[in-house]
């Protein structure tokens, strides 16, 4: 019996270790081959740009409007990894650019900084592309709470940038634009393409994460216009326990009622449809592109591996895309959202962008429909508590209390019943032993025994199924704590040493990393997981009081579970460990009172007897 358990644990550990090892990686790679665009390194691309382009452009040309499609080329350029040397990229790209080719000498065109109180965009003169998009109200985790904070940068690769333009699939990214400030927050960039004026404008509003984008030219009449996000969205967070996979980067595309979320590796994707928006999001930030007129269009997207990429994990993928649609008259308009994935902000846009944040598993009772709503409600509640107490730690604790109150009838009846059953166990076993050869008799005797002792398994609220109801709420809390940007960088008075509830807890930061299998290693000393494990041990011990202490199953529950929980939660967000710790405390308190009430009752029964 015990041998089996040991074998089981050995099997679990061996399996986990196997998939962590290089051997396991190669096996995974064999069964799930990565079908990515062959990513050449920058020197390679510079050497043979045509080879790369023809390779990628060939299948794509059929998909778009049927013409030869240099838009693909622009995205193909995006397929090369970050080009740090700008002159290098110019030479590599010059074969692509159909627009007036810039002089051979590496000109550094002027860059223009445009900002409002929330975002700061830097627009490059060549192509009037956004080469930097910073959010003033959010800073990097490392700098958080350190006074001079550095705002987060959304552009992963400035060499490619955001919001490039193409007319009839001819990229304007190499055209030199001239900046002029217009009225009403309008910033216009002008260039000449084949002698025709092309205007590209960004329209800023105060206190808004949304920037208007307009491409205007006589060339656009009856032509197609593309907006190119050749750079993906950057990583703003440090790696966590699961190596960034907790919140992988997402590419979400919405057309009508269809919402497609992509966090997998794909080759090169081209979809046609009427798109409401295309969004690329990271853990806490998003760039959403919303066409002003929803009409037939095409989205072309590309997934790439971030370098350095030790493993083929979804979190290490980055997506770039282009949206193409026919121009309306001589204009092509978009709204672009550069901001946090904050539900209230996204909801205010009223285009269903909030759906990119929380997701559910469709196969589980259509959870994609109802689960995000639970998450959003939990978050709304948390924010409501935050408004009152100005502390997300307290908000989490209050949510725990509410959850325990809601499920109180269920937990209370099962705790009571369990407490009684525990006392009853010796008698029950005696009956079972006595009538083991006569199931009908045994059944009758057991019912009799239950009745005598006042235990009624039928009185409990419909078996175990209602207990499952609290599962979605708990998963919602987990989701909210690990995804809500509101908790990013928030500390709590309950655990003063926690600087950020959305990050792993660090009582002491270690100068080195302790390698721990199955995790990215521990580089902090944390206290909450230990407290949580101890509380879990205490609670199990309480619930086992008086039970046969030689039962190997009970022993496994008693010792193995807390140990496993400890390792599992070590690098989890502190908000989650706060939740689990407090939930354990509440359960212990409840257990204590139930046990005490039960002990009183049973002692009074003996007195009567």
């Amino acid at each position: 019996m015990n041998k089996d358990k040991i074998a089981m644990f050995a099997l679990i550990i061996a399996t986990l270790l196997f998939f962590q090892s290089p051997v396991g990686d190669s096996v995974v790679a064999k069964f799930f081959p990565a079908k990515n665009v062959p990513v050449a390194d920058s020197t390679n691309a510079a050497d043979q740009p045509e080879a790369l382009l023809t390779k990628v452009a060939a299948p794509a040309s059929a998909r778009l409007t049927g013409e030869d499609s240099p838009i693909v080329d622009t995205v193909a350029v995006a397929a090369t990894p970050a080009v740090t040397d700008s002159t290098n990229s110019t030479t590599a790209d010059s074969t692509v650019a159909v627009a007036p080719v810039a002089p051979v000498a590496p000109i550094k065109p002027d860059t223009t900084t445009i900002e409002n109180d929330r975002i700061r965009l830097v627009v490059a003169g060549d192509g009037a592309r956004i080469i930097s998009a910073k959010l003033k109200r959010y800073s990097y985790a490392k700098e958080m709470g350190h006074g001079d904070s550095i705002p987060v940068e959304l552009v992963a690769d400035p060499a490619r940038g955001f919001a490039g333009a193409a007319i009839n699939n001819q990229s304007l990214n190499k055209s030199i634009f001239v900046y002029a400030k217009g009225a009403d927050g309008r910033h216009t960039f002008t260039t000449l393409v084949n002698g025709v004026e092309v205007k590209k404008s960004f329209v800023f509003a105060d206190s808004s994460y949304v920037v208007g984008y307009e491409l205007e030219s006589a060339l656009l009449k009856g032509a197609s216009a593309s907006i190119l996000f050749s750079s993906g969205i950057s990583e703003t967070e440090t790696k966590d326990n699961w190596g960034m996979t907790r919140n992988p980067r997402l590419l979400s595309i919405k057309s009508g009622k269809d919402l497609e979320k992509i966090n997998k590796k794909f080759d090169r994707k081209s979809v046609a449809g009427k798109f409401d928006w295309v969004t690329m999001s990271s853990a806490y930030f998003a760039v959403a592109v919303m066409p002003s007129s929803i009409q037939d269009g095409a989205v072309e997207a590309l997934s790439e591996q971030i370098t350095p990429a030790p493993k083929d994990k979804p979190g290490n993928l980055i997506y770039s895309f282009a949206h193409t649609a026919n121009a309306v008259g001589s204009k092509s308009n978009y709204d672009i959202y550069f901001g946090p994935t904050k539900i209230t902000e996204l909801q205010a846009l009223n285009v269903g962008l909030n759906k990119t944040v929380f997701s559910g598993w469709k196969l589980f009772f259509g959870a994609n429909m109802w689960f995000p709503a639970i998450c959003e409600f939990t978050l709304w509640l948390m924010n409501a508590f935050f408004i009152v107490f100005h502390d997300y730690g307290i908000a989490i604790v209050l949510i725990t209390v509410i959850l325990r109150l809601v499920t109180f009838p269920l937990t209370q009846s099962s705790m009571k019943s369990m407490s009684k059953m525990r006392d009853l166990q010796p008698k029950l076993q005696a009956v079972q032993e006595k009538y083991k050869n006569n199931p009908q008799m045994l059944q009758a005797k057991m019912i009799e025994l239950y009745r005598e002792e006042g235990v009624n398994p039928l009185s409990s609220l419909g078996g175990c199924i209602p207990m499952l109801l609290q599962m979605p709420i708990m998963i919602a809390v987990y989701n909210v704590v690990s995804k809500a940007v509101e908790l990013r960088g928030k500390s709590t008075v309950l655990v003063p040493w926690v600087k950020d509830l959305s990050q792993k807890e660090a009582l002491i930061n270690l100068p080195f990393t302790i390698p721990v299998p199955f995790t990215s290693g521990y580089d902090t000393i944390a206290l909450l997981p230990l407290i949580m494990a101890v509380l879990m041990f205490v609670q199990t011990k309480m619930s086992m009081k008086g039970a046969n202490s030689n039962d190997p199953n009970q022993m496994m529950m008693l010792y193995m579970m807390p140990v496993m929980m400890f390792f599992m939660f070590y690098n989890m967000p502190a908000g989650l460990t706060v939740y689990f710790t407090f939930s354990s405390i509440l359960q212990i308190v409840q257990q204590y009172f139930v046990d005490r009430a039960n002990a009183k009752k049973s002692s009074s029964v003996t007195i009567v007897k």
Partner: protein, 90 residues
């Protein structure tokens, strides 16, 4: 206990499933104690996998778990009634 790799595999699988269920229950603070049946569903599952080949165990497990509702009956419901089991042993 009879030997054989197949039996051993079954027993380990049974432990694995049992442990998995317990772990998930613990994770969601789910209490034992309201079981309508004896043995409990997780014990029943473990026993079924141990004693029966998978294609026979699985329907039994599904039937048992789906009976865990207010009109699903209650009481002593082992995988194989003990007297039958003993006959087998003899």
């Amino acid at each position: 206990m009879s030997g054989g790799v197949k039996m051993q595999f079954r027993r380990i699988l049974a432990e694995l499933v049992y442990f998995g269920v317990r772990f998930i229950k613990r994770l969601f603070f789910m209490q034992d104690g309201t079981c309508r049946f004896e043995p409990t569903c997780s014990q029943y599952t473990r026993e079924a996998i141990q004693l029966l080949p998978l294609h026979k165990a699985l329907p039994k497990i599904i039937r048992r778990v789906s009976r865990c509702h207010p009109r699903g009956g209650f009481g002593y419901d082992p995988v194989i009634p003990k007297n039958v089991n003993q006959k087998e042993k003899m």
